[in-house]
């Protein structure tokens, strides 16, 4: 029995997820600086987001609205009176040495998100309860230079980029999720996936895990079966992809169970997920209670959202992703399983956009979930981050349907597009990849193939037309896949008197 199976037999995992979402507002949360990703260090700063003496914050109304919309989409109640609070601690990436956040008066609280997971007993719905959704500002970014590890310890010096400081950050905290058993890793992954799609649907964030606009911390504890008190939890940070969410929980279940089996206690601590090994390593110990000296931010006025306005926002919410998926699966003729695969890959919108351009649902799914998902997983990217657009995919599919590309050629075109060589038409021209359907160009190859396969040729002549594949295959091979297979078949049969 594997370590994991043994762990699950003896212990019940309890999950908790804290997700940070960078909002895609044009300006920062408390000043007018741009939030665009990728600018030169410290170019998107001003006295306020640098925390210069005398500077003051002014809250970004869009940031507040987006947070409320997220709360509504997560079935939360929206506070009629909410305040920002200062979270005080010293760190060089924080210009004011306090973070403007929310404490006991968050904008949204008490919601839930239902997620579907395949279990041995079929598809099951797990309800993940949401404790709170609050709004805060992001910190700057530290780069530790000189050391071997890239960590602060052992670094020669550290550089700070405050471009990120002050970008609106929404924190979504779940309540502890018990009773997921062996499916804990899958429930967590399904939750983050569902949350990502929900946020994308709300158009409030880029939700790109690799750029850090969606970040996840995973809390986990194990309870011995039959016990009523939950175990000590660890918090794992640096979980930066959907796959990592699943792996981090799995690894932490294994690690904690081995510790408990040895009779050791679980240390309450922050751990860091390591992509390369798929395991977590110990970070800061949390034995000393955190002392953030929270108090209401006196430089900002309380938020008292108008009830009618909240109702308006609620009515204008887009369709919930799960409802939308059910509807689309029906429209597109996908099975539940097919649709869930597509959703997990983050491909629903991409497929929808491809279909809008005339591609059939089945083909759109074939390209994105069959072909392109492989490229994505090889490059450790999400589908949406591949350098190919739904327009490109629709064009390739159309060319295949017109007989101008074979499937094999189409794959080459895709690779070239992903390589940044241009759009499909440019790539085809540059690489000379169009299908050869010109008779005169194909005849010599066909004749050679017949000569090389006399037995098959004889059978066809006798009327056993099903053997034609042998010769067509040989032609395709000699032409490097650039021939139009249908045309080849037609010509072979004609040549052999059928």
């Amino acid at each position: 029995m594997s370590t994991y199976d043994q762990a699950i037999k003896k212990y019940d995992p309890v999950l908790g997820l804290e997700t940070h979402v960078e909002l895609s507002t044009n300006s920062k949360m408390f000043c007018g600086c741009s939030t665009e990703f990728g600018a030169d260090p410290n170019k998107q700063t001003c006295p306020t987001c640098l925390g210069l003496p005398g500077s003051l914050p002014v809250a970004n109304a869009i940031g507040i609205e987006s947070t409320i919309r997220i709360g509504l989409a997560l079935n939360c109640s929206i506070a009629s009176y909410s305040r920002f609070a200062r979270k005080n601690y010293f760190y060089p990436d924080m210009p004011k040495d306090f973070q403007t956040s929310q404490y006991d008066e968050p904008l949204c609280s008490n919601g839930y998100l239902d997620v579907l997971v395949d279990t041995d007993e079929g598809t099951k719905t797990f309800r993940v309860e949401i404790e709170r959704v609050h709004l805060e500002e992001d910190t700057g970014k530290l780069t530790h230079a000189g050391g071997a590890t890239g960590r602060i310890h052992g670094a020669d010096y550290s550089l700070v980029d405050y471009n990120r400081a002050g970008i609106p950050l929404v924190e979504i905290v779940t309540k502890p999720v018990p009773d997921t058993g062996e499916y804990a890793p899958l429930v967590a992954k399904a939750y983050v996936t569902e949350l990502r799609d929900l946020l994308r649907g709300l158009n409030v964030s880029d939700v790109r895990m690799e750029e850090g606009s969606l970040r996840c911390d995973v809390n986990l504890s194990l309870t011995p079966k039959g016990s009523k008190t939950w175990g000590t939890r660890t918090e794992t940070k640096n979980v930066n992809s959907l796959r990592s969410v699943e792996r981090a929980i799995r690894s932490e279940i294994e690690r904690q169970s081995l510790e408990l089996d040895k009779g050791n206690k679980i240390k309450q601590e922050t751990r860091h997920f390591q992509e390369d090994t798929g395991t977590t390593r110990s970070g800061r110990s949390k034995v000393v209670a955190e002392e953030y000296r929270y108090f209401p931010e006196p430089d900002l006025v309380p938020i008292a959202p108008d009830k009618a306005w909240i109702e308006k926002l609620k009515k204008a919410l887009p369709e919930q992703p799960s409802i939308r998926r059910t509807r689309l699966a029906k429209e597109w003729g996908f099975t539940d399983l097919e649709m869930r695969d597509v959703a997990t890959l983050g491909g629903v919108d991409l497929i929808a956009q491809t279909i809008e351009q005339g591609t059939s649902p089945a083909s759109a799914r074939k390209w994105w979930a069959g072909e392109l998902s492989g490229h994505a997983s090889k490059a450790d990217l999400e589908l949406i981050d591949l350098k190919i657009t739904p327009t490109d995919v629709a064009r390739i599919d159309a060319l295949v349907n017109e007989g101008k590309l074979t499937d094999k050629l189409a794959r080459q075109v895709i690779e070239a597009v992903l390589n940044g060589e241009g759009n499909p038409d440019e790539v085809i021209k540059k690489r000379n990849l169009a299908v050869v359907s010109d008779d005169s160009a194909l005849i010599p190859a066909i004749e050679a193939a017949i000569a090389a396969n006399p037995d098959a040729a004889a059978k066809i002549r006798e009327g056993k037309v099903q053997v034609v594949g042998v010769i067509v295959g040989a032609v395709m091979k000699t032409t490097g896949g650039s021939a139009d297979a249908a045309k080849v078949r037609e010509l072979v049969l004609k040549t052999l008197g059928q």
Partner: protein
């Protein structure tokens, strides 16, 4: 015009608009006086000779070209070193900010510049505005021009000393618990703390965000009102700024009439422990107001007894957070031998850069906000703060303004209270309740104490965003006393270095 420094802002404004004197001449006269006499008073931390003259030239040029200029264009001003002015050092009286040049103007400075007011330089203050004597400045103590062995009040003692020493007709201070009113009182000038949110705090280096408010100093009530009008107004860069028209303080200052006004004397502010000379002048003012037709009655503000305790929890709590950013990482002092960790650099920088009083308040505030103590201290103090505000709101149902002596004593001797923080804190006893309530209050001179012949101030408190009411009372008292004294109280101040 031989004695330009003796003129009020209104008088200077008249001469400037007539063209009988230029802004450059006015500025030069004040700079000359500062450069020859401030070594005895030490009111300025930084005198911007070149910048001030350049601003003055600009005003003269605009006048010459018949461009529209404001009433106070060309009038010089002394600015407390807690407000940022682009390109000019801002230290807040602290070593931790030594060498920092702000890259931006505070809204107050922007408003001053737009009005053509000439900023002569930055004035001394208690470090980060924490103190009542300006002795907590990390640079040097400022002296009271009435008696150079006495304190000029604080924390805005540099500005109050500069205005009372005729270095500038106008000054700007900030008031968190009395830091404009008490210095005004002990130097015999006028000082006002506007309604909280009446003047933008953008660019005011924060001590206690929920209490800090910048305000004007002047030698006359009308000058004070004119500067108040220039400074105030809604600012979208300050979320706590009030989006309402500025009360018509200038008109109120000119009324000189209190007939029919209802005035309340705060019962709790006076009596045992208060200097007799202060109480004598206060009682005379009450009689004066009555004789001018005001209806005066005593009013109780019961929770004002807890104002001091409340203030010394809330203000240090906010300060402990506001002053966290001075960590040596981005600007100002940095103690670093190249081998220290970031945490060690922060610790050593703060240890060296902050003075004793600042450290004391950071410690108190850190303690009061800590988990396990928060409810007993910070949260409790907020509740009492609400009760004090409620008391004052109730009082204003009965009267138009409230009055008290501004401070329990006149100016004390330099060094007398430096080792007794409680004695220092008591100087703010009367000024704290309006600060906690966020309502406007001002101090106007009402005479000299019998014991020491030092100035006494009258505090006038008005309801929120009714700043005009206190100017009405202040203007009327000033007019009446001016007749009695045949001039302003400040005219009785001794000459500085025989140069008067």
């Amino acid at each position: 015009m031989s004695d330009l420094t003796k003129l009020s802002a209104v008088e200077l404004s008249g001469e400037l608009s007539k063209g009988s004197v230029s802004a450059v001449e006015v500025t030069k006269a004040h700079l000359d006086r500062i450069n020859s006499l401030d070594k005895s008073v030490q009111s300025f931390l930084h005198v911007d000779n070149a910048g001030a003259l350049k601003q003055a030239e600009e005003v003269d040029k605009n006048r010459k070209e018949n461009k529209k200029v404001s009433a106070l264009a060309g009038v010089p001003l002394a600015l407390k070193d807690v407000l940022t002015q682009k390109g000019i050092p801002t230290t807040c009286g602290s070593k931790i900010l030594e060498g920092w040049i702000p890259p931006y103007d505070s809204t107050v400075v922007k408003n001053l510049k737009n009005a053509g007011i000439v900023i002569l330089g930055k004035t001394n203050m208690d470090e980060f505005a924490m103190g009542s004597s300006t002795e907590n400045s990390a640079y040097f103590p400022t002296k009271n021009p009435w008696d150079l062995t006495k304190i000029p009040g604080g924390s805005s003692g540099g500005s109050s000393a500069a205005v009372s020493a005729f270095f500038a007709p106008l000054g700007i201070g900030t008031d968190t618990g009395g830091s404009i009113r008490q210095p005004a009182a002990v130097t015999g000038i006028v000082g006002a703390k506007p309604s909280y949110g009446g003047v933008s705090r953008f660019g005011l280096v924060a001590f206690a965000s929920s209490l800090d408010q910048a305000g004007p100093f002047a030698r006359t009530v009308l000058d004070c009102a004119m500067l108040h009008e220039v400074m105030a107004g809604h600012d979208p860069l300050d979320s706590t700024s009030i989006n309402q028209p500025v009360p018509d303080v200038v008109k109120a200052a000119q009324l000189q009439d209190v007939k029919g006004m209802k005035i309340g004397i705060i019962k709790e502010l006076g009596g045992d422990g208060w200097q007799n000379g202060v109480l004598n002048r206060f009682n005379e003012s009450v009689e004066l107001l009555k004789s001018m037709g005001a209806q005066v009655k005593e009013i109780s503000i019961p929770h004002s007894l807890y104002a001091l305790a409340t203030y010394y929890l809330i203000a240090p709590s906010e300060a402990s957070s506001n002053l966290a950013r001075f960590d040596g990482m981005r600007y100002g002092l940095r103690v670093d031998d190249g081998n220290l960790s970031a945490e060690e650099v922060m610790n050593k920088t703060r240890e060296k850069g902050f003075g004793k009083e600042v450290k004391r308040r950071i410690m108190i505030g850190t303690y009061a906000l800590s988990s396990g103590y928060y409810d007993a201290y910070y949260a409790q103090a907020q509740k009492v703060r609400a009760l004090i505000a409620q008391d004052l709101t109730n009082a204003f149902k009965e009267v138009d303004v409230l009055i008290s002596p501004t401070s329990p004593t006149t100016a004390w001797g330099l060094g007398e209270r430096v080792n007794d923080p409680m004695a220092m804190y008591l100087a703010d006893l009367a000024t704290l309740p309006p600060s906690l309530a966020g309502i406007p209050a001002m101090s106007v001179p009402i005479g000299l104490a019998d014991e020491d012949k030092l100035p006494v101030g009258l505090q006038i408190i008005a309801p929120f965003m009714n700043d005009d009411r206190m100017y009405r009372v202040g203007g009327a008292i000033e007019a009446s006393l001016k007749t009695k004294w045949n001039g302003l109280l400040i005219d009785q101040a001794p000459a500085l270095g025989g140069a008067k």
